[in-house]
Each structure stands twice: as C-alpha cells, then as structure tokens.
C-alpha cells in the first residue's frame, strides 16, 4: 500500500513537472515587464538605476573583464601584471575616469562566460577582444563602443601542409568554443564546399594540445590571435603558417551593459582619446610640451584653460569626465599608435586597416569640441 502511494505521488510530481516544461515558453513579455515595474518600487540596493560611472567613482577602481593568455592582447605575467593591447585599454579607461591608470582590477574571464559577467555586474567594462555583432548588441545586453582593433578571421596550419584555404578539403578545423569563429568556419566550409569538421574547444590551452597532437589540420581564429599564438608556439613561429585568406569581419572593441548611456559615452571617449592623440602627434613622451600649444583644438583636447572674454575655462563637454582626461590617458598609457607598437607590432602584425584615417586606415575620432 505504502509503495503505491509513493508511486502515485511520484507520477503526480512528474506530471506537474511536464506541465511546467510545456508551459515554460508561455511567459509573455507583458507579464515580465509588469512584474519588474512592481518590484522597481521596492528595489533592493543591488537593483538601483544608478550609472556604472557612479559606482566606479565611488569604488575608485574600474573592474575590467579581460583574459590571461592571449599573447599581444592580454597576458598575465608571473609578477601578477596583465600586459597587452587590451590590458592597456583597460588602463586607458581607468586613467580617463579616475585619473589613475593603475586603478584597474583585471578580471580574467573564459570566453563563454564573458557576457554573463557583464550582465550580472561583476565587471564594469569588457575589453576582451570581443567581436561586435548585432545579436550580441541585442541578445547579450551589451553595448559596443568604438572599435579599437579591426580584425578578420583566418586560418593557421602547419607550414607546408596547405598553401590556400581552398586546398583544405575534408580537413578538421579547430576553434575556440562560444565565439563567432565557430559559425564563420562552418559558413566558410559550406560556402566553399570543403566539408570541414569544425571542432570547438573549451579554451585555447586545450586547443593547443589538440593541435600539437595532430587532431586538427587547421586552427581558425582572428588573424591577430593566430599571430599571437604563433609567436608563442612551442616549436617556434616558423613551424606555422597563416594562410592569406581572411573570411570574416571581426571588429573588436570594449563593451558595456545596455541601458547605461553615460558609462558607454565615458568608455567610448576614453578610447577615442587615444586615436585623437595619435592624429595630433601627441605621445606619452611629448604630451607636456603640447600643454603650451597655440592650437585651440589641442588646447580643448588636453583640457588646457582657454582665455576668452568671459574669463578662462577648460572645455567641459559634459561627458562626466575630468577636463584633463585626455592628458591623463596619453601621459599614463600612451596614444593608439604607441599601444599598438608596444604590444601588437612585436607579434608581426601590420597596422593595415587599423592605421589612422589620414593614413588610409579606419581609425577616426569625432571632433572633440
């Protein structure tokens, strides 16, 4: 008797659960928003509508989502320092907002976790060579600001194995999991009719192991990343070749959480300042000599007080940034060209499309006035 009762209870619970499974999809957006409006009234401290900007000012530190093992972009060194292009842009943001490039907390994230970290507020900004796509803007609740590196997906193979992507019929192509590279590789395979087997790996260390063991014929990722991994390859960079074809657009840039325009603008102008500084020819070495410049556009940019009939004042465009933020960025970190030369040029990367617009590239900053 006892057994049959528990069996009935179990099956009732199961039926309930199945009903739950079936009904899960019927949550209407209207019900969602009304629920959230109600709870807005009694919002817990965590759910306040203040900008991330205020939280950063209060904490005195920018929490920057980054990574620990991508040569050139972000590498965690033995002394605990992060070094690289992306790491420097984290410092650019800290220098702009807080006037101190060292006031930054680097948070290492796995590729698949990066947007979750942004969504749940455990980081303030994501600078982790992340491609700007429409569904990430929409689905992940991320807002991308100024692209700081225009990249494209390519293919790396053992030297001598292939000379062109078109030769790679039936090849096993390895990629990192949870990235746009996965879809791009599959698309390229079907577009060229090459019948690739695309294998996705949890992180690049596992991918490297598989590549070394010969499980993969090709390693597909953004060309900048491939260049970085090639420079650190155990058998030496010459053992690997990056094929000439580039088969996707990968604009990489910082991302912040949706619905916080003030913080997005602050991060955006911090990045733009590095580009504008290079255009003016201002570097970390010569920035002090520009403080006495007669050029009013440079005076505005560096926050120098400008004499007018109504007295002297530095331009404050109302972004919430200190008036000397550009000076601090260039002085403490450097301009775009300096950051590129320090971290990406040593890997063998050319400026290419990442040159200034005045040199035929895509790097262009709106006027600061």
């Amino acid at each position: 008797m006892k057994k049959s009762v528990s069996l009935i209870a179990a099956s009732a619970a199961f039926a309930l659960l199945l009903a739950g499974c079936a009904g899960g999809g019927e949550v209407t957006p209207a019900a969602d928003s009304s629920g959230s409006n109600e709870s807005n009234e009694t919002a817990a401290p965590m759910a306040s509508s203040a900008s991330v900007y205020d939280a950063v000012m209060e904490a005195g530190v920018v929490r920057c989502g980054t990574r620990d093992a991508l040569p050139g972009f972000a590498v965690l060194q033995d002394d605990g320092e992060h070094v690289g292009f992306d790491s420097d842009f984290c410092r650019v943001i800290a220098a702009a907002v807080l006037g101190d490039a060292t006031a930054v907390e680097m948070v290492d994230l796995e590729t698949a976790d990066r947007f979750t970290a942004l969504q749940n507020g455990s980081i303030d900004v994501l600078v982790r060579n992340t491609t700007w796509t429409a569904s990430r803007d929409g689905g992940e609740g991320a807002t991308f600001v100024q692209t700081n590196f225009y990249d494209g997906q390519g293919m790396m193979v053992e030297s001598g194995a292939y000379t062109s992507v078109a030769d790679m019929n039936g090849a096993v192509v390895c990629v990192a999991k949870g990235t746009t590279t996965e879809g791009n590789a599959a698309l390229e395979s079907s577009r060229r009719g090459l019948n690739w087997e695309v294998r996705a790996f949890d992180d690049t260390d596992l991918l490297l192991e598989a590549f070394l063991a010969g499980q993969c014929d090709g390693w597909s990722s953004d060309v900048s990343q491939l260049t970085g991994f090639r420079s650190a390859y155990p058998d030496g960079p010459a053992a690997l070749t990056i094929l000439p074809e580039v088969f996707s657009k990968e604009p990489l840039g910082p991302a912040v959480l949706d619905g916080d325009t003030q913080w997005a603008q602050v991060v955006n102008w911090a990045v733009l300042a590095t580009i504008q500084a290079e255009e003016f020819g201002i570097t970390s070495a010569n920035v002090d000599s520009f403080l006495t410049s007669e050029d009013v556009t440079i005076q505005r940019f560096l926050g120098v007080e400008i004499e007018t009939d109504e007295g002297s004042a530095a331009l404050d465009p109302g972004l919430g940034l200190p008036t000397d933020f550009a000076y601090q960025v260039v002085k403490q970190v450097g301009n775009y060209g300096e950051i590129f030369e320090a971290h990406l040029a040593p890997l063998g990367l050319e400026r290419g499309v990442n040159a200034l617009w005045t040199d035929g590239g895509l790097m262009y900053a709106p006027p600061y006035r």
Binding site: L17, R136, E182, E209
Partner: protein
C-alpha cells in the same frame, strides 16, 4: 487543589510544543519564500534594465555552429541543436549504462573470486578508480590517452584492416544502409527473442521439460537478424583512411570515445561494489541449499544467487545509472557535443544565458525523473512481496 487537577489544566499556546512546532516551520517557510522572492525580483529588475530577453524565442534563431562528425546544417534553429545535443546525451548515457552494468557485474563477481590474482586485480581497480575525481579522469583520458597515445591520422593503427584508430576517432565496420532500417531489424529480432523465450518457459511449465529459454532466445535473435540481413541485402562497409579523416564504417568521435570509456570505467567501479555487496547480502542458507542439491558453482550462481542479488542491487544500480546520465554533462569539458556543451555554445553565440540554462536544467530533470519512474515501476514488480 490536588496536584492532579493542576496537571490536567490546559497548556497555554506559547508553551504548547505542537503549536510551537507549527510556528517554527511557518517562520522558516516565510524566510525561504522571502529569500527566493528577493532573488527573483532582483533578477527581474536587473534583466529589465539590461533589456535581455527572458523568453524562449531564441530557440528559433539560427544555431550558427555544426556538430563535428554529424550531419547538422548550421542554419538550423537553436531548437534543433538542443534536440541533437539531447540525442547525443542519450547516446552516451544508454551505451554507458549498458556497458557499465556489464563491466561492473563482472568486476563485482571477480571481487568475490577464490582466485587470488583475479580478486587482487579487481580490488585494485575498484579502489583506484573510485577514489579519483571524475573530471580529472576524463581530462586524463582525453589528453593522455586519446590525444597523445592514439596515433596521428597519417600513421593510424589498422588492426586486421577492420578498424581505423587515430586521435581523430575510432572507425569500426558498420552496416551499409540507413540507421532506421537497422533499428527496425534489431527491434524485430528482440521481439522474436522475447516471444520465443516466453513460449519456451510456458512449455517448460506445462510439460516439465527443461526450458533452455536463454539459448532458444539467442538462436531466435540470430535467425531473425541474419534472415533480415540476407533478405534486405545488407552489406558491411569497412573504414579506410581518406583525405584527413576516414571514410566508410561508423566513426566514433574521439571525445565520444573518451567520455564513454571514462563514464564506464568510473560507474562500473561503483556498480562492482553494489554487486559484491548484493551477492553477500543473499542469505547464506540459499547458497548452502544449492550446495546440498549438488548444483555446480555456475548453476548455483545463475539460478540461485544472482537472481536474488539482482533484486537487492536494482535500486542502487538505478541510482548509478542516473548519476551516469548527469555526469555525462562533463562531456562539455572535452568538447563532446551533448546538451550542456550545446547550451554553452548557443549562449556564447548570442542566446540569453538564463533561459538557455534553465531549459537545459529542466531537460536533465525530465530525463532523470523518467529514468527514476521506469526504475520504480521495475523495482515494484521485482521487489520481494512481504506479508
């Protein structure tokens, strides 16, 4: 006023243990509900602030990835990817459960062997494997065994020219034809085997002649499957190395192989202990009675000990089966495309994390509850009826 009347006086509610118990439980319940509501409302507020969708509409978006070694169009919806991931979970779970019960039973019996070597080896197996974390075992199997020990595709092992073993997978000879036809043939053979076995048992009950139902069933299975094979003109294909992979036969993905072997090794070490314990739990008199009838050791095990041990072992083995299903989610760590891996990839490709993982969670819950329900029904039929 005698002391007796004082005792019979009514206890005030604040000193009544029954009232206090209720009150305490209500307070705890209120706290739990309050915390859950607080978490949920926070989630709602934060999600509405960041404009992240909370519904299941993302299931209709294109998946944008492929399954290695499987037919899957990358423009298919995320829903189809989840279904494929679900099948892959079932594939490794079913194969894993069957193999670990078989291996576990053998090792469990070996633990009780009178042969010292057999006993020592099986004891060592159980003690070593049971005491290693599963994730570590899986990573080791993938990195050390599949990636490093198996050869590159250029110098693949080809034992008897029937198999092709490399770190890109293990290809085995397989039927040349559709899998559905194969499944129908197997189902027909199983039905034939069961009905022949049932008929033999009934005939034995009626006439008293030995049933030999097991060998008769096996014979029926072989006759039907080979007959269908001949009739349909089925043929084998042997795998060969072609391009950078293999052609023909059936190719087991290297990550599938690593995951299956790890799960079987790990779970069978637990099942072995359950089997050993269940055999020891069969009352001693049963074995002695069988000995008194002069049954051989094999017959005694097959007809007297094991059927009773099986009854005792079933609920515990069922738990191990459910553990194996849940542990198969570790396949995500070595890129086996099961449910968890699919969820992680779709989230990385733009699906909202909370609904996608909630869906995954519910699917696992459904699989486990269905398994548990089946096991309970089975167990109820088998359990000793005590009066």
């Amino acid at each position: 006023m005698s002391p007796l009347t004082a005792v019979s006086a009514k206890t005030p509610p604040w000193r009544d243990i029954r009232v206090l118990r209720w009150l305490f439980q209500l307070v705890v319940l209120a706290i739990v509900v309050g915390i859950l509501y607080w978490l949920y409302s926070n989630y709602q507020v934060n999600i509405s602030k960041s404009k992240i969708p909370t519904d299941l509409r993302f299931l209709g978006n294109p998946a944008n990835f492929t399954f290695p070694g499987q037919e899957f169009d990358q423009s298919s919806p995320v829903r189809a990817a989840f279904v494929q991931g679900f099948y892959n979970t079932l594939r490794v779970a079913i194969a894993g459960i069957l193999l670990s019960i078989a291996l576990g039973t053998l090792i469990g019996m070996a633990r009780l062997s009178k042969n010292f070597l057999v006993r020592a080896v099986s004891t060592a197996y159980v003690e070593v494997i049971r005491n290693i974390p599963l994730l570590l075992l899986l990573t080791f199997m993938n990195l050390a065994v599949v990636l490093q020990t198996f050869p590159r595709i250029e110098d693949a092992w080809k034992p008897l020219d029937l198999f092709v073993v490399s770190n890109r997978g293990i290809a085995i000879p397989w039927f040349d034809g559709s899998t559905n036809t194969l499944l129908v043939v197997i189902a027909l053979s199983v039905v034939a085997a069961i009905s022949v076995g049932w008929w033999r048992t009934r005939r034995s009950d009626r006439t008293g002649r030995p049933a030999r139902s097991l060998s008769a069933s096996l014979l029926a299975f072989i006759v039907v499957s080979v007959g269908a094979w001949m009739a349909l003109g089925y043929s084998w294909t042997l795998p060969v190395v072609a391009d950078r992979g293999t052609e023909g036969g059936l190719r087991l993905d290297p990550s599938f192989f690593a995951l299956l072997v790890t799960l079987v090794i790990y779970t069978s070490s637990h099942i072995a202990e359950i089997v050993r314990g269940s055999i020891l739990a069969v009352p001693r008199g049963q074995g002695e009675a069988a000995d008194a009838l002069a049954l051989s050791h094999g017959t005694k095990m097959r007809l007297v000990i094991l059927p009773q041990a099986f009854r005792i072992a079933l609920p515990a083995i069922g738990n191990q089966a459910m553990n194996l299903i849940k542990n198969s989610s570790l396949g995500a760590a070595i890129s086996y495309f099961e449910l968890t891996q699919v969820a992680q990839i779709t989230v990385g490709n733009g699906s909202p994390a909370v609904p996608a993982f909630t869906l995954t969670l519910v699917v696992y819950l459904c699989i486990s509850l269905v398994t548990s329900l089946i096991l309970n029904l089975f167990n109820r039929r088998l359990a000793l009826v005590e009066r």
